[in-house]
């Protein structure tokens, strides 16, 4: 998943980026509200975390401007402000969720999963494709009730393929889900992960169409 992190605190931003990447997110980190708005306009992100206090444009104002322009990307507000009026204000402006610093990181991850799930139109916490089940919360994969071990990136690729169920998922979109702007993927990285998934699930589980992309094929 591609995540935009808008946080001006260097220490928190750095540690949060690291934690999110370990959870499987491709994180792009900006430090002002203005940069956050510009980044969202690229259309590359699945989800965002905005801090309230940021230079130039604060987080709430940035969210308001995005919503006025019709942007529907899920945004989680991350702030030290815990008064009810602040929460109501942020949510009414357009934030989808609100978490107060200091937070428990696992809770942050869970809230991000919820927002992402809703964006994809799913209410269930697990993803299913035939006999294949994915649990984003604990990164577990089961095929015919048997656990399959996958790395974080392999899991992310498989998750993206299942989200694209019934259609082909382009290599570009898979690359964007895995890599942030400051991480440049090698030209065949996606092919490597697809090969690994085929070895784990079975070759027929993933179809390739040249020039188009990859499609999950439940057996």
């Amino acid at each position: 998943m591609r995540l935009l992190l808008a946080e001006d605190d260097l220490m928190l931003g750095e540690s949060l980026k690291q934690a999110l990447e370990s959870e499987g997110y491709a994180v792009d980190w900006v430090k002002t509200g203005d940069d956050a708005i510009q980044a969202v306009f690229t259309g590359e992100f699945d989800i965002a975390i905005f801090d309230w206090r940021m230079p130039i444009i604060d987080g709430v104002t940035a969210i308001g401007r995005l919503r006025i322009r019709g942007d529907k990307m899920p945004i989680l507000m991350l702030t030290a402000r815990d008064e009810l009026a602040d929460k109501v204000n942020a949510l009414d402006i357009g934030a989808d969720d609100y978490i107060v610093k200091p937070f428990i990181i696992e809770e942050l991850f869970a809230r991000l999963r919820v927002l992402y799930r809703r964006r994809k139109g799913s209410a269930s916490p697990t993803l299913r494709c035939g006999q294949l089940t994915l649990n984003p919360a604990n990164k577990e994969v089961e095929l015919d009730n048997e656990k399959i071990e996958l790395s974080v990136r392999e899991f992310t690729v498989l998750q993206r393929l299942i989200e694209c169920q019934g259609r082909f998922c382009s290599k570009t979109s898979l690359t964007k889900a895995l890599y942030s702007w400051d991480n440049i993927a090698a030209s065949n990285t996606i092919e490597v992960y697809i090969a690994r998934l085929r070895r784990a699930l079975g070759a027929d589980w993933i179809k390739t169409r040249r020039g188009v992309g990859y499609k999950i094929n439940p057996l």
């Binding site: 690291q18 009810l84 428990i104 990181i105």
Partner: protein, 442 residues
């Protein structure tokens, strides 16, 4: 006015006394003169042996008696002549006690006339063993004096009384704006900085009111600055705490050694506790600010049930039994604030009860106050610590939980907002914490 009246009364008394003295002197001289005349006459007639006849003629031919002046002639214990039937004035018993003496006759006079003075002049002739006594009743003179004084002074008394009443009325009405201002200031809460506006805006109080309003503005700004400082300090600490917690997560993901993992877990706990302290300090700072609006009828037991639901996981984990009566009792208060109070009280009860213990929650109304008591076992709590539990940051020795030591302080501060209290009692290793507030509906 009181001083004036005192001076006037003193002057009146002195005038009365001076007049009385002036009036007395001629009377006293007259008495003395009459006594000497009579004695001289007696001596003259006695020299020629005619004293008995003289006295007999006095008896038979003396004019009708007048009560004001009395003439008496005594020989020894016997009265030879008296110009009046009643009211004898026996000679002095003391030898040599001639001359002027007066007596107050009180015994049979009514109380308003009990200061009847008789001036008595006694003269003794030793060769004849004769006492001549001449006495004057001063009552009529006293009455005349009093009459003069009263008729002289009653208009002044009326004027003074009238002036007193007018002054009192004028002062009362004149001080009314000050009374209204006093009432306005007395009824204010400690954090009420609203400007004063009085009806009719009395001119004489305008400088005072302006100064007070200016003072209120300055106090409000100072108060707000202090509150903002507390809030800003808490916010500034929260960011770094979030960064530390997140970094600890990253470290925990990276290290494999058990000892390092334990260290990370321990650090996380400390950071959590620090975060709890910051949250509680912020709560306390906010409770110092006036609560504006938000009053509503709150079902206290409903709030308790909701808060208990939030603690259900911890209650289950510690295998606690909760005995809570579900009766309904409403008070007029701020719901968010009451929730904070009960969260802190229930948090304490749940965390410090022994595993497998029970917590009893009883609510009770007494007149216009409602109390909610939380009772649980506290076998490790020292009796000397009980009174200190509501001190800020105090935690009994041996406390290992995540508490900040501010929970009871917060509950106490909230109780004080509603003129209430938090009472603590430890008996037979059972701790009772009673939260009492006054219902603002009453």
């Amino acid at each position: 006015m009181a001083v004036f009246l005192l001076v006037w009364a003193a002057a009146l008394a002195l005038a009365y006394r001076a007049t009385d003295t002036e009036v007395q002197q001629p009377i006293i001289r007259g008495l003395e003169y009459d006594a000497h005349i009579i004695l001289t006459a007696l001596q003259a007639v006695a020299a020629v042996g005619g004293d008995q006849q003289f006295i007999s003629r006095l008896r038979s031919e003396s004019p009708s008696s007048i009560d004001v002046r009395v003439y008496q002639i005594w020989r020894g214990e016997n009265i030879l002549f008296s110009s009046i039937k009643d009211n004898n004035f026996p000679p002095p018993k003391k030898e040599g006690a001639y001359g002027f003496r007066d007596t107050i006759d009180r015994t049979d006079q009514p109380w308003y006339n009990h200061d009847t003075y008789w001036y008595i002049y006694s003269l003794y002739e030793p060769t004849l063993d004769i006492w001549v006594i001449v006495a004057q009743d001063t009552a009529p003179i006293q009455r005349i004096l009093r009459l003069i004084l009263i008729r002289s002074y009653w208009p002044l008394i009326i004027i003074l009384l009238g002036a007193g009443v007018l002054t009192w009325v004028a002062v009362t009405f004149g001080l009314r704006p000050l009374s209204i201002l006093t009432a306005n200031l007395s009824s204010r809460g400690a954090e009420d900085f609203q400007h004063i506006y009085l009806d009719n805006n009395p001119r004489e109080l305008q400088p005072v009111i302006q100064s007070l309003n200016s003072l209120f503005s300055r106090l409000e700004k100072t108060f707000e600055r202090e509150r903002q400082f507390s809030q800003n300090a808490a916010h500034e600490i929260r960011g770094p705490l979030a960064a530390i917690e997140t970094q600890l997560y990253n470290v925990a993901q990276a290290v494999k050694e058990t000892q390092a993992q334990h260290a990370v877990v321990s650090l996380k706990k400390r950071v959590r506790r620090l975060a709890c302290v910051v949250d509680n300090l912020l709560q306390l700072a906010r409770l110092d600010a006036p609560l504006i609006g938000g009053l509503c009828a709150i079902d206290l037991n409903g709030v308790i049930s909701d808060v208990l639901a939030d603690f259900s996981d911890l209650i289950k984990e510690r295998n606690l039994t909760i005995d809570h009566s579900n009766s309904t009792d409403h008070v007029l208060a701020h719901k968010a604030v009451i929730v904070i109070a009960f969260k802190n009280l229930i948090d304490n009860a749940v965390r410090y009860s022994p595993v497998g213990g029970s917590i009893l929650i009883i609510s009770e109304r007494s007149g216009d106050s409602v109390s909610v008591c939380f009772k649980n076992a506290a076998p490790e709590l020292d009796g000397s610590d009980v009174s200190r539990l509501s001190e800020r940051f105090f935690r009994p020795v041996g406390s290992t939980g995540l508490g900040s030591g501010l929970g009871l302080s917060i509950a106490l501060r909230i109780a004080e907002i509603y003129d209430g209290s938090v009472a603590l009692n430890l008996e037979d290793e059972q701790l009772s914490v009673c939260f009492r507030i006054y219902d603002r509906r009453v």
